[in-house]
Subunit: 394 residues, 2 copies
């Protein structure tokens, strides 16, 4: 048992940014407050001024995201509750009976569980592209897995467990070469790393609004070109406020995939967040996080008994770092960090059993420390000194 | 052209509550603000205190809704982005190849469009239960439409166009008698009319959080018993923070249907709203709206040239009233009410072409005036006097 007497103080250090960013730019809340108190009408459902204003607010966010992901037009950005639903729409909307899919060895259950369902329902199959224990995906070896019935490559942009960046540009080229659909999960990168739909040659780029994009929870979506959307079936249908005389789903973007009332408040908040990111500059944001990640990795490397997973190189991974301490259960470690030091981390399997198999940490898992935009040097120092105390106490 | 010189003043009167309630109880915003600024962690994804607190907040709302809809346990309440997604989960989760479905003549496209998709995908078929132009559904005649392959009755609790209340208890009995699933759409009633899952003998009760329930947009869901859920397939799969070592979707409630990050902020707001409703008392809320609806109907009946649809009886309909003015286009009427009088209403087809066919108002539509919890007598008076001015000016 690790729990000892009072080591800690009252500090609260949030290092679970891979689950959600906790702190947001001030403009995010203000935009939501303003919308909620001044507007709060259902966008695009009527013609009165305040409903149109709500519609314009939604369009504003769409435009910002379209620019952010380099889409041709704002309507190529579709909103969903979260990136999981977005990925489900992409996979179930594109894959047909008997299709074969390539995935990385780092995929989240947001990809794997829908594929498992499709195995049953549509007899699809998938292969895991060669991925080393540090999470490096090998596109050359991956090409050898392509079969005549292979239709799609699905890749996370970075591991949600150990942060390893995936060579999505090369995978995009591979997909293009073989005429495959290419679906990219940017849950761990959008808002910190550039994601360019066109440059990637992607079919679908799925995003979450509440992590590095710094919006609230409850909003995500995907980017899809008008052409690709024509091949994609919606996952749910319903009222769209458009062609209301028709009993079939509209076949145009974004209505094709956006039925029912949107999380307008979330969209407004996300819009303010993306505006903040544009102004702050993605390169600056990334540089700051890279520096902090480097500091964290260097500090961890000096701690005896600490096992670090992943590339251990801030230029090849995000600010998400996976560790274990020899002979210490990671759940207990996370518990102690929270209780004694006020440090919030996440132990276990992180909804990514495949990634843990790749890492060799299945089923015991790891402790995940994930830095975010508002993480400070002091917080990293405090984490390192706290871990030092834990190590000393073993 | 109806537009004349300045009749109006600066008043803003919101009468589009059937699309969303605009004003909310103060506690709703305060709860969201508190969550956003003090907590804002991803619930159920880690073990640290603040994540557990977020999880407790979600559970609190689940508990309140479970009480509200009379469910056996809080986990029988599932959250989705909106009621449209909830209805899609119910229909697609329960209906199998070749099934036949009965619907009312009042259904929203949130029901009809998924059924149209299922016609194609699973060869299902549906029949519309006899519904008169005022929206009265006849359960006795409906029984005659039941075929050997009939598996489900889907009914809205009230028309979203003319407010007519549907005899859902009788339809529930019919479903029970023939062993059919019973899916109820409470978009227009929950928060104003009692909805008792057990008493209805329902399979699924779908709800929206942002209308009469007075929560924010972006949150809805459904109630389903543990037994019924066993027969229901999820529409989307993904990370649930549970059994993370497994690559298949959990088969227990609510995780079975709740993949990815929830709209936690929306759930917290909805929780505060349901608390408000519990304290205010549903009977009192309904009595107030019934009185206002009566006043509105009586006033409309006195206006020459105004055609009123629906039962014209506040005890047999919600506060949603459909009208037309002879020889006036309803879109133009709505426009004038907004521009000249600051009154927000909704013209057209209200995402319910079937309802308009039932009413005999397809494809020209109606003007919908929908009262909500915060509508005042003065606002109804103002609407009536404004309509009088419009009528006088024709």
């Amino acid at each position: 048992m690790l729990i000892r007497s009072n080591w800690g103080d009252e500090m609260q250090v949030y290092l679970d940014n891979a689950a959600t960013s906790q702190k947001k730019p001030e403009a995010v809340f203000l935009a939501m407050e303003n919308f909620f108190k001044q507007i709060n009408c259902n966008p695009g459902r009527a013609g009165y001024e305040l409903s149109l204003t709500a519609g314009r607010k939604v369009m504003e966010t769409r435009e910002r995201l379209a620019r952010f992901f380099n889409m041709k037009e704002p309507n190529e950005v579709v909103f969903t509750q979260n990136i999981t639903v977005a990925l489900n729409i992409a996979l179930k909307g594109l894959l047909r009976q008997g299709d074969h899919v390539l995935i990385t060895g780092l995929e989240h259950n947001a990809v794997v569980r829908p594929l498992k369902a499709l195995e049953k329902d549509r007899n699809i199959s998938y292969s895991i592209m060669p991925t080393d224990p540090q999470g490096q995906v090998d596109p050359v070896e991956a090409a050898k897995l392509i079969q005549p019935d292979t239709r799609m490559i699905v890749a996370t942009h970075a591991s949600n467990v150990m942060g390893t960046l995936v060579p999505i540009e090369e995978l995009g080229q591979l997909a293009a070469e073989y005429g495959l659909d290419f679906v990219v999960d940017t849950a761990q990168t959008a808002g910190c790393y550039p994601v360019d739909y066109k440059r990637l040659g992607a079919t679908v780029v799925a995003f979450t609004g509440h992590k590095h994009l710094l919006g609230p929870m409850g909003i995500g979506g995907f980017c899809v070109s008008r052409e690709a959307a024509k091949r994609m079936k919606p996952l749910y249908e319903g009222g769209t406020g458009s062609i209301s005389d028709r009993e079939v789903q509209p076949d145009f973007l974004p209505d094709q995939f956006e039925s029912g009332t949107l999380n307008t408040l979330g969209i407004v908040g996300l819009g303010a967040a993306v505006d903040y990111l544009e102004q702050a500059g993605l390169e600056e944001i990334r540089a700051k996080e890279e520096k902090l990640t480097g500091k964290l990795l260097a500090g961890l490397q000096e701690l005896p008994g600490v096992i670090i997973y992943g590339p251990q190189d801030a230029t090849r991974q995000t600010g998400t770092v996976a560790i274990n301490i020899q002979d210490v259960d990671n759940a207990e470690l996370s518990f102690v960090l929270d209780k004694k030091f006020g440090i919030m981390t996440r132990p276990g399997l992180h909804c990514a059993p495949i990634a843990h198999r790749t890492m060799g940490t299945f089923p015991e898992g790891v402790l995940r420390i994930s830095i975010g935009h508002f993480t400070t040097e002091e917080e990293v120092d405090y984490l390192l000194s706290s871990l030092q105390k834990v190590v000393d106490a073993i």
